[in-house]
Amino acid sequence: MDHSLPHDNPTPAGVKRWQLWFSLFAGTFVWVLHLLTVYPLTSLTCEWDWFPSEIAGLHGLRFIQILITLVALAIVLQAGYFAFNIQRHLTPQNSRHLFMARLGLALNIIFAGLIAFAVVPILALPVCG
């Protein structure tokens, strides 16, 4: 390997590569899964009359959707925490790693927002209006 070329330093100790990749992609995957779950659930519930009874004082669908949203949010926040933690271990000599970690952190913030906002219509709108 030619180290005279302008390459990043090796991954520093304390940075787990799987955490870096997880922090980069988890938010995207979880948001996509969340959308592809809560949206069809709404349609199917209205079409097939699923979740007819209340759970914990909420319409069954609302309860399930909030549960899914909270789980999704927890995973994205964990991914964001990984990214935040990784960037603290990095120096400017790890510019590419730092770039990835910051990108992961920012993306997780965006997707956490997108997922969290879904709670508002779930609670505020009629289930099959």
Partner: protein, 836 residues
Amino acid sequence: MATTLSAQDNETLKQIWQPPAGILSFFTAVNHRTVGLRYIITGLTFFILAGIAALLMRLQLMFPENTFMNAELYNQFFTMHGTTMMFLFAVPIMEGVGIYLVPLMIGTRDMAFPRLNAFGYYVFLISGIVLWVSLLFGSAPDGGWFAYTPLTGPRYSPGIGTDFYATLLTFLELAALVAAVELAVTILKLRAPGMSFNRLPIFVWAILVMSFMIMFAMPSLITASAQLALDRTMGTQFFNPTNGGDPLLWQHLFWFFGHPEVYIIFVPALGIVSTVLPTFVGRPIVGYFYLVLSLVAIGIVSFGLWVHHMFTTGLPILGLSFFTIASMMIAIPSGIQIFSSLATIRLGKPVFKTPLLYVLGFIIIFVIGGITGVMVAAVPLDTQVHDTYFVVAHFHYVLIGGAVFPLFAGLYYWFPKFTGKMLNERLGPIGFWLTFIGFNVTFFTMHFTGFAGMPRRVYTYLPDLGWDMLNLISTLGSFVLAAGIGVFFIDLIFGLWRGKPAGDNPWGASTLEWATTSPPQPYNFASIPIVHSRDPLWDANGELETYAVEPYLGRRETIGTSVLDARPEQRVELPKPTITPFILALATAFTFISLMVNIVLVPIGGILIALSVVAWHWTDIEDHKAKEVKQEPEGALPSSAIISSKGRHPTFWWGILFLILIEAVVFASLIVSYFYLRAGAEEWPPELVGRPDLLLPTINTVILLLSSIPIYLADHGIQRGNQRRLKMGIVGSFILGAMFVVIKFIEYGNVNYAYGWTRTAYTSIVWMIILYHTVHVITLLIKTCVVGIWAFQERFDSERNAALQVNGLYWHFVVLIWLPLYATIYLSPYVLGSGS
């Protein structure tokens, strides 16, 4: 390795890379700059045609009850205008700009798969020509660019026009996908040493994001247009509600592609803006990291918006609200782009040359389009303005402002690079102002036309509805706009003819495409540049460090680098000029057109395609019979070749990986189609057909799963130099794969699926899934045959076996993808019951 080449080496390079001359060049050239320019020129030609169609429509709408054209012709014109602008202009031209510039910007000599690149262009050209020729014969599609069913189904659009749309769109998307794979692999694997991801030019980031968006979005359209074509030509029932189909399935599949499509066009345009701007304000772009973030975020979030085109289809309001959230949130990353541009201008010293004028025009127009975008993201407002001229105004602001203005900025900016000549700085601003004023007069007015209630797609209207003056103003504005665009084209032609010599870097720009001559030498760079920063030409002060790749063996070669950090890994061999891409494109076109005209001809098309593929690979086989390929010069990077390659994953491994990604999305679209149709069915499967038997399919599934084991053992065997295990593994997997196909045929010969795939939506979707997967297994068997022959000729060894790895990768994919298909078709009717 940081050296430069001798003058003799440079001359050798020139001979190796020189494209063919004369008329033959059109059929054989594979060089990225030739193909890229062809995309651009052809795209601009279609832009002119679509523009003429628009002007004629505006003439018709100029006055109420006008008789300039009849309803049928008007329908064909607005369909051709939309289809051309979206599919034949915007996407191909952005890809063309990428194909021309990406290799130069990342400091390499060509694209990863030059022949595939040329193939994509021919497919694009043939599709476009056939579509437009259909208009000449009065048989153009007339159901709008998004071709809603049931309007475009066989009952309400009985002519051949929509067949052209459905079939040619499926064909045309091949070109888009090919270019996307090509661009993504080139960016991932052929970057100049040192160009790690945090040093990638913004335009290259944009093209990378666009490529992945195309790979995720287009397969959904291919599935939908194939289903529409089958409904129309074969009599399947995907969209026919009387037999279990659902017209809304089309909308879901179409808009899952259609909304990202807008961003597929817009994202590279943002890349152009962020490349042009720094040059004309004399400072690096502000917020590089945030720009990359916004590009990536736009690329992802754009896939969560598709239902906002379906707000008025009666879906539950709660479901719609999830898409409202995403539709409004996407304004944030889009806003980052605008604020970055404004901050860059504020902190720099702007020089108001023509490219910068178009960038400023983009900012103003796109902001207006963005604001109306947020407006229509709200369900109540969208319900009011849906299908009115307000929406027409909105998407023209987004698409013309977001794509055409940046494109014109880019063409002014890179014209010296393309031709070595400058454009006229007197004509440029005139063209800009006419375009800017004409555009706003035409389309800003349409907001009011829409609020006044005028629906889109009506060929005429009654007087005194409050629309007369507004339409007249729009029509007058459209001619001013056309004049501006006309000046732009005159400037291009005048520049080609009499333009002043540009020099290598006339704007004093910072990115690598300006590090070589204008226009570049056939090989782009004699020595590959080494990159230390995001603005290599500004930071290097004219002393760009280089990495030499000797013209070894008289082959076309460039450096293959690692994905993340761009460390040199391989010498990537690239093909010479060849006619095979053109022949393959003709054969593929013949097959697709046969689907419309006479299905009996399809097998002939299949044979022609197979022969073309053999011819395509023939030169590889001949090339790599040469012993020298294994004898590399001392200290040289290992060679990456089609048949025998060593080192880290070569470019074609990445190509196959992306092919798998595309295929996975197609299969996912088919599974979604199955469950979507199932969700709306009262009886699933229909009683007439009954639930599928489980025994034979389950045994067959086990056989297919087992077939992965020998291929795995074969791959691992050869990595230890075990030729016997390689041969046995290939033979074993081939036998098991063939057994799967034979049992499939027996199964469907006997059971009541033979009832026919055209009777109900259930049988249509089941047959489509099974046929599609079986075709994959058969293709895999043919592929394995070829690899098996090479294995028995002992062309592989422990170091050179990439073709086997690739074959194995694809084999495992085809096996694994069967599991969800098996669960969908065979298990779900038992698990989920028989209907709603």
